[in-house]
């Protein structure tokens, strides 16, 4: 469904990504791993259309995304949850969801869609009128994820959803992603620094370092006894 061919991202004179090849299949979770500055965010942004792609091509359903601006890609079923827990902080939980839904495909009425969100994350339902900026970290991440899923995407791009969250919440979130992707057949690209946790839920993994892919393979291959050492070496 998604293919990156030799993609490079350049911000002015800085090359954030160099010649990256990547494939993501529907119904599967593809993990993109690497330390800070390795290029994970640039990769997701390039797919979503908000990073300058200087070389190579991003193919979605075998068609190039090059001529498509970001909002069109969103309409085509690509949904990005950006790094740093970016939300509309001045708007309430429900307003954030309403906004996300309003500019999505709108296959079901809002009341049904939002109820599905509250069923999956009851705490959001309890706090539906609270401003998003006031939520705790984990709740914010749930809201971000729900803003993505309420648009019923075919391709979900998640940038470090586990950032700064307690392991138990991260578990919850990863479980949700896995269940959703399996049920809907959505392709998921999950960028994470927390490599081991990500590889547990992913089917495929790519490790980035300095903007290039240095390791990749099926996640069960990557997850072996000495993986932690290998990753340490790659990260540290």
């Amino acid at each position: 469904m998604l293919e990156l061919k030799n993609v490079s991202v350049t911000y002015g004179t800085i090359r954030a990504l160099r010649g990256v090849d990547l494939v993501a299949q529907p119904g599967q979770i593809t993990a993109v791993l690497g330390a800070n500055g390795a290029g994970k965010s640039s990769l997701l942004r390039a797919i979503a259309g908000i990073a300058p792609v200087s070389d190579g091509d991003v193919l979605y359903r075998n068609a190039s995304l090059k001529p498509r601006p970001a909002h069109q890609r969103a309409r085509m079923g690509i949904s990005l949850a950006m790094e740093g827990r970016r939300l509309f902080r001045h708007m309430s939980v429900e307003e954030n969801l309403l906004l996300a839904w309003s500019f999505g495909p709108r296959h079901s009425p809002f009341t049904d869609a939002v109820q599905a969100v509250y069923d999956a994350f009851p705490i959001l339902g309890d706090r539906r009128s609270i401003k998003a900026g006031m939520l705790l970290g984990g709740q914010q991440q749930m809201l971000i994820l729900s803003s993505v899923t309420i648009r019923e995407p075919d391709l979900m791009l998640l940038d470090e959803p586990s950032l700064g969250l307690a392991p138990i919440i991260v578990s919850q979130i990863f479980d949700f992603i896995t269940a959703y992707s399996k049920a809907r057949g959505t392709a998921v690209v999950l960028a994470e620094q927390m490599a081991v946790m990500a590889l547990r839920v992913a089917h495929w993994g790519y490790v980035l370092r300095g903007g290039q892919v240095v390791m990749h393979g099926a996640s069960d291959e990557l997850v072996k006894a000495d993986i932690v050492n290998k990753l340490s070496a790659a990260y540290l």
């Binding site: 002015g12 800085i14 800070n36 620094q193 006894a225 932690v228 540290l236």
Partner: protein, 606 residues
């Protein structure tokens, strides 16, 4: 084209040419008709006005849309004092200049605190306010204005008992303008002028090398106000009549247009712009009719078509180092002053920087949660940690950009918690930034020279008058900058503007600037990001130089290979707390570090 520009640069830079022009005008005035002398007088005024806004907006970066206000203050003070109170003309002029300087200084206090849009609106408001006062106040004659001011046209202008006619007045204006231009050029080519540019380029970066932005802005406003006030006072005596319509927003716009079209940020630019816009309304009837529309079109298009104005198009940019300091010398480059090398091993020397239980919150978010550090001379410490662990916050608090929420920071025995960033920099704690903040139009040499800002001692007056002591200081600093450039491997591109060079160079220049400051403690924020192999080598050499010179270095980094080669000690942060301190090898195997970076729980078997 480039050879043409170089030639023009050489020609226009010649002092002899300028002197020749002044002499020619002096004598020419006596030989030509009165109309031309009047026109030339207006030219002098416009040059003064254009340069005054150039200093404030083009050099110090403070946009001014109400410059007519300063013009009005100078004009009316001179006019009222001489006409209504019978004060002698020279004295009145001095008072007028002082008054407009004072108004400028006062305006800088609120204006210096606001950014961009607010500043633009505030200065527009200031200009309008001055206009309204001129229009309503009885002292200034209200709408009717103030007439009968001593002037050559009425044959009433007397200075020290000597009757001044049109030509005499022009000559006075000519000399005054020439003197102001020389002073301005000296000023701009000194460390004071460079500090103005630094504030324009990045107030935060300026603070990080010890430049007090509030003080710079007040100075810029005061000097700019004084220049415009001088123009105003001369104007009062030139025309003998002052009406509020001479000080409308139109005038402010005209002054801005002259400077922008001529070329802001250069010395020659506003002169060219003033010449163009003094000549055009006189000679082109069409221009006079459509003046407003033309100004409007010019302002709309200038940034798309000729970003640097006429001066930018036809000549080389002004350089900001005293020319005489740039001449080649046969002796070798000077070495920066270093701290005494201590004899004990690094661990035993007293710490240069101590941080005790430092905490910092941002609206409920705990960014730093009790971090303690000690940085010793001749030691390089790495500070690492995953995203959001508090590394940058630590540097920002220690360098004075944020106040600590709790804890103490001790530099060389003094508690510096809560001090302003520029004060801390002046004490010798220098930092760099994640994205290099340099002055884009400065060359490599000029940017590095900025680092020495805190060591310059010359006063503004000494700089403007080009005292020998100022020159000596400049020469010494330039030599030191050359040494730093050699260290950074930048000798070949020393005189290229930094904006034309690739990213890696900017990094190296920023670190070079920090070295130039001869710091006691250096905090480097991710200096290795985006550098090539060769550049990393240079960076490592520079950091080692700092260590060997006895400085304490804190290095925030993600680039582990780079860190591995040069640091002695590693501190790892996570969620605002220290989770490991020790050697690199130990860090890799440490379970807490692995958990923080990789998400492996303590008892997990992958």
């Amino acid at each position: 084209m480039n050879t043409f520009r170089r030639l023009m640069g050489r020609v226009l830079g010649q002092s002899l040419l300028a002197l020749a022009i002044v002499v020619a005008l002096w004598f020419g005035a006596g030989l030509t008709d009165r109309g031309t002398v009047q026109l030339l007088s207006f030219l002098m005024l416009n040059i003064l006005l254009a340069q005054s806004i150039n200093l404030l907006t083009g050099i110090a970066g403070q946009i001014s849309l109400g410059h007519a206000g300063f013009f009005a203050v100078g004009a009316y003070v001179a006019g009222v004092l001489t006409k209504t109170h019978g004060v002698a003309v020279p004295l009145a002029m001095v008072i007028a200049i002082a008054a407009s300087a004072l108004i400028g200084w006062l305006l800088a206090i609120p204006a210096g605190r606001v950014r961009e849009i607010y500043l633009a609106m505030m200065t527009t408001g200031f200009g309008l306010l001055c206009f309204e006062i001129a229009k309503e106040w009885s002292v200034t004659g209200g709408v009717v204005g103030l007439s009968g001011i001593a002037s050559p046209t009425l044959r009433s202008l007397q200075v020290f008992g000597w009757m001044v006619d049109t030509v005499d007045l022009f000559r006075v204006m000519l000399v005054a303008t020439a003197i102001v231009l020389v002073l301005m050029r000296n000023f701009v080519q000194s460390h004071h002028g460079r500090s103005f540019f630094a504030v324009q380029a990045s107030e935060i970066a300026a603070g990080s090398i010890g430049i007090a932005r509030g003080q710079v802005k007040r100075r810029a406003y005061a000097i700019s106000g004084a220049m415009a006030g001088l123009a105003g006072a001369l104007y009062a005596h030139l025309v003998g009549y002052l009406g509020p319509d001479s000080f409308t927003i139109t005038r402010s716009v005209e002054v801005l247009v002259m400077a922008i079209v001529g070329g802001m940020g250069t010395i020659i630019g506003p002169i060219l712009g003033a010449a163009l816009f003094t000549w055009l309304p006189e000679r082109l009837q069409i221009f006079a009719e459509y003046q407003f529309m033309v100004y409007g079109l010019i302002l709309m298009l200038i940034f798309l078509v000729m970003r640097r104005g006429i001066a930018g198009a036809i000549t080389e940019p002004t350089r900001f180092i005293a020319p005489r300091a740039m001449k080649r010398r046969p002796d070798d480059a000077g070495k920066p002053v270093t701290l005494q090398a201590e004899s004990n091993a690094p661990q035993n020397r007293p710490a240069l920087l101590e941080v005790h239980d430092l905490g910092r919150n941002f609206a409920g978010l705990v960014a730093l949660d009790g971090v303690s550090l000690a940085l010793r001379p001749g030691q390089i410490t790495a500070l690492i940690g995953p995203n959001g662990s508090g590394k940058s916050t630590l540097v920002n608090v220690v360098s004075g950009i944020y106040d600590p929420s709790r804890g103490r920071i001790v530099l060389g025995g003094d508690d510096i918690g809560g001090e302003a960033d520029h004060a801390i920099a002046r004490r010798g704690l220098i930092r760099t930034f994640q994205d290099p903040r340099l002055v884009p139009c400065f060359t490599v040499r000029e940017n590095i020279l900025l680092g020495g800002q805190r060591h310059f001692r010359s006063s503004m007056l000494a700089a403007a008058l080009h005292f020998p002591s100022t020159l000596r200081e400049e020469i010494a600093m330039v030599r030191r900058a050359e040494y730093v450039m050699e260290l950074a491997g930048l000798g070949a591109v020393a005189d290229q503007p930094i904006e034309s060079l690739p990213y890696g160079y900017r990094r190296l220049v920023e670190v070079g600037r920090a070295i130039m400051a001869d710091p006691v403690v250096v905090l480097l924020d991710e200096p290795a990001a985006g550098l090539s192999e060769a550049e990393l080598g240079r960076l490592a050499a520079m950091i080692r130089y700092l260590r060997d010179a006895g400085k304490a270095v804190l290095l925030i980094e993600h680039h582990m290979d780079f860190v591995n080669d040069i640091v002695d000690d590693v501190v790892v942060l996570d969620s605002g707390r220290e989770i490991y301190r020790g050697h690199m090898q130990g860090m890799r195997a440490n379970p807490a570090v692995r958990a923080a970076y990789l998400g492996v729980s303590q008892d997990c078997h992958a």
